[in-house]
Amino acid sequence: MNNMVNNMDKKNQKLLEVKDLRVSFFTPVGEVKAVGGISYDLNYGEVMGIVGESGSGKSVEAYAIMGLLQSPGKVVGGSITFDGEDVLAKSEKEMQAFRGNQVSMIFQNPMTCLNPVYTIGDQLIEAIRCHKKISKAEAREKSIEMLKLVGINNPERRMNQYPHEFSGGMRQRVMIAMGLICDPKMLIADEPTTALDVTIQAQIIELMKDIQQKTQMAIIFITHNLGVVAEICDRVTVMYAGKIVEQGNVEDIFYRPHHPYTMGLLRSMPRLDAEEYERLIPIEGTPVDMLNPPAGCPFGPRCEHCMKICLRREPPQIDLGNGHTAACWLLVDEAKRLAKKEETPNE
């Protein structure tokens, strides 16, 4: 883990900077603005959770960083800076050197993410040899070491087996090993536990936490599951309809949420400290139709606090201090109180 020292050194320095990123899908029925201008930073060694319901643009945003967007998807604006380099300006060749080496990604469904006709060993060795000029034997050694690290017994024998000989949890471990094998500075985990059953989920989260502590690698953890976020993330970004609605430390988001959508998410989630009789309250209404998003606040049609202005103008991001921001008109007065210089909308 030669990066580890590096990651420690640079703690609190900016690793990833996403600025006003916009991604659209140009479909026959119109432009789908899957990501509509999001901005955030991620420091070395930091673990950030991205939460939001299905279709909010979490995966699309991650694919944009990896340069994995499929046509008709396209980055239509903004910038992505990783470790001082402009990711969007890279050529396809440069992206090949970047993916898997600087940033790795693991996916939701481990059952279909490994190539069924090649052995695990073959696929691990390939992942190293794409980026490092080392012999097959050395690559094999390193692969076995990684399999051990992710808790796979009998790695020498497992190397020669095919994906169908592994269980879902084991395959996700293999995916993690594959993601970490080139010692990347950042890992993007797109719902890595959603497809697994609960006990396996817990094991995988434990493993990722463990590895993060060992390597001090930055992680973007995409999930529906706020419980998982509380467990391993330092910071949380809440997305809704391709926009960031709230962002902040885990404590701020969990104990001092300011956006009605975040509050709704928290209410809809089972909590350990909840009283027996406390009901889980699902968020009313249906997710936004991304082809015809509402004017104003995207959450407006479902928001219990919706005001007139919400339906006409998009709320600004309000700084609540300590890196906590939320985009909601309700906060404008509070923001004035907090910052005393936020412009009041002329209602």
Binding site: E92, Q96, R99, N101, F107, T112, C113, P116, V117, A127
Partner: protein, 311 residues
């Protein structure tokens, strides 16, 4: 693996036995006989001939005798076309000619069909894709004998570019092989295209990209091997198709192969040749199907042969 092969061989023997019985009975149901051509011999000569070849006995007895002899490796002698030469010898003489044409057609169909499919998939939605689609649609909709006849008329007789009869030089292989290969080539092209498009959208391809694997390696290592699996399933039926296609093509181009000979033996009611060829071709197809199933296992490790072969 050995158990699988043993089971399949046993199944094959049953299939061949049934084919033998059915062919034998059908053959005897068809009016006419080997010695009943235009200049029919006198009744006495006919009776003597029939007695010599055992045709005077009831059909079930004939069948029993045939099977008993066949089990001892004796498939009888030709009654008419090459009088009194053993059927086995005749088949072994004719088959290599058919096999040569057939193998060229089969290999050609795969080697051209798969790239056609890949190119069409790669350029999907462009004019290249459309052009290939037109070609392959034509290919799968016109029968082989039409292709053979059109080629024969245009290249053979109108423009006199290629020899029309027999197998004298490499040039004479072009038309028969192409006639045989055209349909399977187009079929494989379509199969490979849809299979490639399917594979390219699979999640393991995305994983490979996320690892930073270069594009050509993604296509030729990760995608092609998976995309080839459906093509492989088609190889069994394809072999059978090329064999039966050979009956027509060899007749059209007058090639001295087993296919043409088989057709003639039926017209001539040369019973032992009909039976011998049928059993031979059936065994050949059954063997090829088994070989294809074993090939599967080599390409797709998920296949458990013991559990019945294909997925």
């Amino acid at each position: 693996m050995m158990k699988f092969i043993a089971k399949r061989v046993a199944q094959a023997l049953i299939v061949i036995f049934l084919i033998t019985c059915i062919t034998f009975l059908l053959m005897n149901l068809v009016p006419g006989g080997p010695f009943l051509s235009e200049k029919s011999p006198s009744p006495q000569v006919l009776a003597a001939l029939e007695a010599k070849y055992g045709l005077d006995k009831p059909v079930p007895v004939q069948l029993k005798n045939y099977i008993v002899h066949a089990l001892q490796g004796d498939f009888g002698v030709s009654m008419k076309m090459q009088k009194n030469r053993p059927v086995g010898t005749i088949i072994m003489e004719m088959f290599p000619v058919s096999a040569k044409v057939g193998i060229i057609a089969l290999v050609g169909a795969v080697l051209i069909g798969v790239p056609i499919g890949c190119i069409a998939a790669y350029y999907r939605g462009t004019w290249i894709d459309s052009a290939l689609r037109v070609l392959t649609t034509i290919g799968v909709s016109i029968p082989g004998f039409v292709v053979a006849t059109v080629l024969l008329i245009l290249l053979g007789s109108t423009w006199k570019l290629l020899p029309t009869v027999g197998l004298t030089s490499w040039k004479s292989y072009i038309m028969p092989c192409f006639s045989l290969a055209f349909y399977p080539m187009c079929y494989i092209g379509r199969l490979a295209r849809s299979s490639m498009l399917d594979v390219i959208n699979q999640e393991y391809i995305r994983t490979a990209k996320a690892k930073g694997v270069p594009t050509f390696k993604i296509v030729f290592k990760h995608a092609l091997r998976n995309a080839f699996i459906p093509v492989l399933t088609y190889l069994g039926p394809l072999t059978a198709g090329i064999l039966t296609g050979g009956f027509v093509v060899e007749t059209v181009f007058n090639i001295p192969g087993l296919g043409r000979y088989f057709v003639q033996s039926i017209l001539n009611r040369d019973y032992p040749i009909i039976m011998g060829t049928t059993i031979f071709l059936a065994s050949f197809i059954v063997t090829m199907t088994l070989v294809v199933d074993i090939l599967y296992k080599a390409v797709d490790p998920r296949i458990d042969l013991a559990k019945g072969g294909s997925r």
